[in-house]
Amino acid sequence: MRSISFPYTIHKGLAIPYIPLALKIGKTWRRFWAFVDSGATYSIVRTSEIEDLNFDYKRGKLVNVQVGDGGFIPVYLHQLVISLDDFEFPATVGFSSRLGVEFNLLGRKDVFEIFDVTFSDSRGEITFKTTPDQH
């Protein structure tokens, strides 16, 4: 079992679950920061972060995802490899040009199935512990 911890990012005393990760897009590894969001079904990366890559994100499966104001945004889903620290795993990752926030999101699909995720405000960290059936 593997346990990976990230300290919260702090701003004005507020703890923000904002963590670094790497994503393999085609043959290219690229590093992102993402807001760990247990309320998000999918991990979503803003397309402004990948504009310079030769990656046709619109070839992914299109789903409409409801956001906080009740509207729906188009998200294109792909199967990619995420690296948390040095632990790599396949995950569904969506891309959207309409996310509307300044964060990428690390959502539940695959990520919360591979890991038990603990938000500990008392310890000031988020822990990803692989579930027993993972290596």
Binding site: H11, K12, I16, P20, A22, R30, A40, G68, L105
Partner: protein
């Protein structure tokens, strides 16, 4: 050796370096720590800009591409930690 051959070898070397950079996944957790440590200052001074940090060096850019290009001119063998610095208003959110 003719200049054409030298040019050809130069291009080959450049392509190999490019391929290495594309495929590499070497990064430093210290760069992430640097971003965390300086997060409040960055939000205060450079909201909306992209910051790229690699091997302790950092650059700012208006776009992710600009920041990545600038940092790879300074540091070639480390995958940079890059984020768009959020505006302080967006840090209190209901996601």
């Amino acid at each position: 050796m003719s200049s054409a051959v030298r040019w050809h070898q130069g291009i080959e070397k450049y392509l190999l370096v490019l391929l290495y950079l594309i495929c590499m996944k070497k990064f430093s957790l210290k760069d992430d720590q640097w971003i965390r440590k300086n997060f409040e200052k960055l939000v205060e001074k450079h909201p909306g800009k992209y910051i790229a940090v690699a091997a302790g060096k950092f650059v700012l850019g208006k776009t992710r591409q600009e920041a990545e290009e600038k940092i790879t001119q300074k540091v070639r063998n480390i995958l940079p930690s890059v984020l768009q610095i959020p505006h302080k208003e967006s840090l209190i959110c209901a996601l």
